[in-house]
C-alpha cells in the first residue's frame, strides 16, 4: 500500500477530484461570470435534459463521430503499413522512422496553423502543388464546404500523428520472435501470409492500443478545427469539444458545458469498452 500511495495520490488529485468536480459542476447553473461570492444554484438534471434537446450539441457529436470514423481506419492502415516497412533495424529504416515521427513533436496548434496556410487559396503551397500536378484546375477554397474542410483537417492530422501510431506498432512487430518468422519462411509462407497470419495476430495488442489512442484523440478533436475551420462553414464543423468550449467559455455556461463533457465522456468510455471487448473476442 505504501508503494502505491504516490500513484494513488496522483490519481486522486489529478483525475478523481477533477472528475468529481466536473460531475458536481454539471448539476449546477455555475457561470464563468459568477462573482467570487455568488452562491451556485443546484439545478439537478436540467443541464442534461437541455443537452439532450440541443440540436447543435448532437450535430457536433455526429460530426465528431463521422470524423473519427473517417480518420481512424486511415491512420490504422498507414500506421501498420509504415510500421511493417520500417520495423527492421537498418540505418535507412531508422532514418525513415525518425523522419516520419518528427511531426509528432510539433504542437498540434502549430501544425494546424502551418496547414491552414498551406491550404490557403491564394498563397497556399499545397493548393499550388495540386494545380501544378493537374489534380485541380484552380486553387480550392478548402473550408468553403464541410466535406473538403474535414478532408483538409484529416490530411493535416494524419501528417501530424501518423508517426506516433507507427512507433507503437513497430514496437509490437519487433516483439514478434525471429524464430517464428523464420519457421514460417522455411514452411514457404509468403510475405503477405507472414504479415496476415503471424505478425498482425502477435502484434494485435499494439495495434489495438494505437487504434484506441487514435480514436479517443479524434473524439476529443478541438485545436485543429478551432484553428483551421473555425467551426465553419455555417457551424458544420463544430466538434463536440469545440461546442463544449463554446458553451463554457464563450457563453460562460460552465454548468451546461460540464454536463456536455460528462455525456462525451460516457460516449468515449462506451466506445472504448466496446472496442476492447471486440478485440478480446477476436483473439479468442
Amino acid at each position: 500500500m505504501v508503494y502505491v500511495a504516490p500513484a494513488l495520490l496522483f490519481v486522486a488529485v489529478f483525475v478523481l477530484w477533477p472528475l468529481g468536480h466536473l460531475i458536481w459542476l454539471s448539476f449546477t447553473a455555475k457561470s464563468l461570470m459568477s462573482g467570487p461570492d455568488d452562491a451556485v444554484a443546484f439545478v439537478g438534471f436540467d443541464n442534461y435534459a437541455r443537452a439532450f434537446g440541443d440540436k447543435n450539441f448532437w450535430r457536433a457529436m455526429t460530426f465528431t463521430l463521422t470524423y473519427t470514423a473517417y480518420i481512424t481506419p486511415i491512420l490504422l492502415v498507414l500506421n501498420l503499413a509504415l510500421a511493417l516497412l520500417v520495423s527492421k533495424n537498418t540505418p535507412l529504416r531508422r532514418v525513415t522512422r525518425t523522419v516520419v515521427f518528427l511531426p509528432v513533436v510539433i504542437g498540434l496548434a502549430s501544425s494546424s496553423l502551418l496547414w491552414y496556410w498551406l491550404f490557403d487559396q491564394q498563397v497556399g503551397l499545397f493548393n499550388r502543388l495540386l494545380v501544378d500536378m493537374g489534380v485541380l484546375s484552380e486553387p480550392l477554397v478548402w473550408f468553403k464546404k464541410a466535406t473538403t474542410g474535414q478532408f483538409a483537417v484529416i490530411i493535416s492530422v494524419v501528417w501530424k500523428v501518423v508517426g506516433f501510431g507507427m512507433i507503437l506498432m513497430v514496437a509490437g512487430i519487433q516483439a514478434v520472435g525471429n524464430d517464428v518468422i523464420e519457421a514460417a519462411m522455411i514452411d514457404g509462407a509468403s510475405a503477405w501470409k507472414r504479415v496476415r497470419r503471424i505478425i498482425i495476430p502477435l502484434a494485435m495488442r499494439s495495434i489495438v492500443l494505437a487504434t484506441l489512442i487514435s480514436a479517443i484523440g479524434s473524439m476529443l478533436a478541438f485545436d485543429q478545427f478551432y484553428l483551421m475551420s473555425g467551426g465553419g462553414p455555417r457551424g458544420q464543423t463544430f466538434t463536440t469539444v469545440y461546442w463544449i468550449y463554446q458553451s463554457s467559455f464563450v457563453r460562460f455556461e460552465l454548468g451546461y458545458g460540464a454536463a456536455q463533457a460528462v455525456l462525451l465522456m460516457i460516449v468515449i468510455t462506451s466506445g472504448t469498452a466496446m472496442q476492447l471487448w471486440l478485440s478480446r473476442k477476436g483473439q479468442k
Binding site: 462573482g35 487559396q121 477554397v141 463554446q246 464563450v250
Partner: protein, 417 residues
Amino acid sequence: MKMTSLPGFRRLLLTASVAAFSASAVEAETLSMWVRESAADPGKLMVDLWNTSHDNKIELTAIPDSQMITKLATSVQAGNAPDLVSFDLIYMPDFMKAGFLTDVTDQLNADPHYANHIQAYKDIATYEGKIYGVGFTPDVSVLAWNKDLFKAAGLDPEKGPQTIAEVVEDARKIRALGGDTYGFWFSGACPGCNIFVTSPMMVAAGSKMLPKNGTDDALTGDGVKTVLEALKTMWDEGMIPANAETDTGANFVSAFTTGKIGIAGTGGFLISLMAREHPDFNYGLTVLPGVEAGQVSAFVGGDVVAIPAKGKNEAAAREFLTWVLSDDAQLNGLAKNSILTTRTDLADNEYTKGNDKVLTTAKALSVGYVPWVFHFADMVNSDSSPWIGMLQQAIFDGDVDGAITDARAAMLEIAGR
C-alpha cells in the same frame, strides 16, 4: 544621566522607526499587468514609458485574446488576479456586472483630465452609476482604399467612397482591372472583424444593432439590409476574393496590404503598421459611410485598463490609472506612436498635425459607437453567433430577409437570459 539618555534612546528608536516606515512606504513595487495579445504592442509602449519614469514598475504579460476572459474570470474567482488588466472594452459590461473590477468612481471624478476622456470609453466603463476603468489603447474602425488601384481604375485616388453605393461602384471598377485584383475585402467568417468594420456602415445608415434585453430593438432600420445587399452584390459579382467566405480573420489586414484589394474596412492600427512595414504603400483612410453622403459611423474599439477586484497592490495600480490620462501618457505614449489619444482636448497635438490619416481616425472616434450590452461574446464574437450567421446566410446564401429575421430572434433570446 538616565533622564537625559532615555529621551535620546527614544529619539533613536523613533528615528529608526520612521526610517523603517519611510523605507517601506517608498519601497518600489512591481505590479503585474495582463494585456490581450492583439493590443500588446501599444500596451507595451505605454508600460515602457511608465517604467522609465516611475519607481513602481509594471511587468506586462500578453494573454492570447481567446483566453483573456477565462483567465481573468478564473483568476478573480481564485483571488489571484493581476494588479492591472487591459482587455477588449466590449467585455466591460459583463465584468462590471460580475463584480470582477474595482470601483474607481471617486478617483476618476476627482481627476480633472477625466472630463475630457472620450465619451464612448466613459459609457462602456460605467455600470449603475459607478466607474470601473479608463480607455487605455484606443482603436476605431475606418475604411481604407488603395490609391494606386483607384488611379489605375480611373477613379480619383484622393477621394475615398462616401456612401455604400460608391463602395460598390468603385469596387466594381477596380475588379474590372482583372487578374487577381479585387474591389473589396472582408473576412466572411470573422464575427469580431465584421462588428468592427461592417456594423458601423449599418449604424451610419440608421440601424440599431444589438439588444440590451429580450424586449429591446435588434437589427432594426434599413441600414442592416442595405449593407447586406451591397455585400451580397459584391460577392455575387466576384468583386471579393473567394477565400473571403472562409477567412476567420487571418487575412483581415494582410489582404489589403498585398496591394491587390481596392477597398477594405480596417482600424486605426493600420497607420502605425503601414508606417512600420509598408512605408511606401499608397493608401487613404476615410470614415465608414452610410447610405447618403455625410452619414458616417465607426466602431470604437481598443482596450480599457481596470483594476481586478481584491488586487494586492490597489494603491499603486490606481496611480497607473491616473497616469494613463496624463499629458505624458497621452502625448508621449500614444500620440507620438501614431496612436489616438483618449482625451478629446489632446486629439489635435504636435504629432497629429498634418497627418490626415490620424485626423481621420480622430474624426471616426468622435462619431463612433460602442454597444453597451451583456452577452456580447455570445451575440457577436462567437464562431456560432447570430451576428456571423446573419452575414453568411445573407451574403453567401443569398437570403437577406431570412437572415435578419433569424438573427434578430436569436439575439433577443440571448439578451433575454
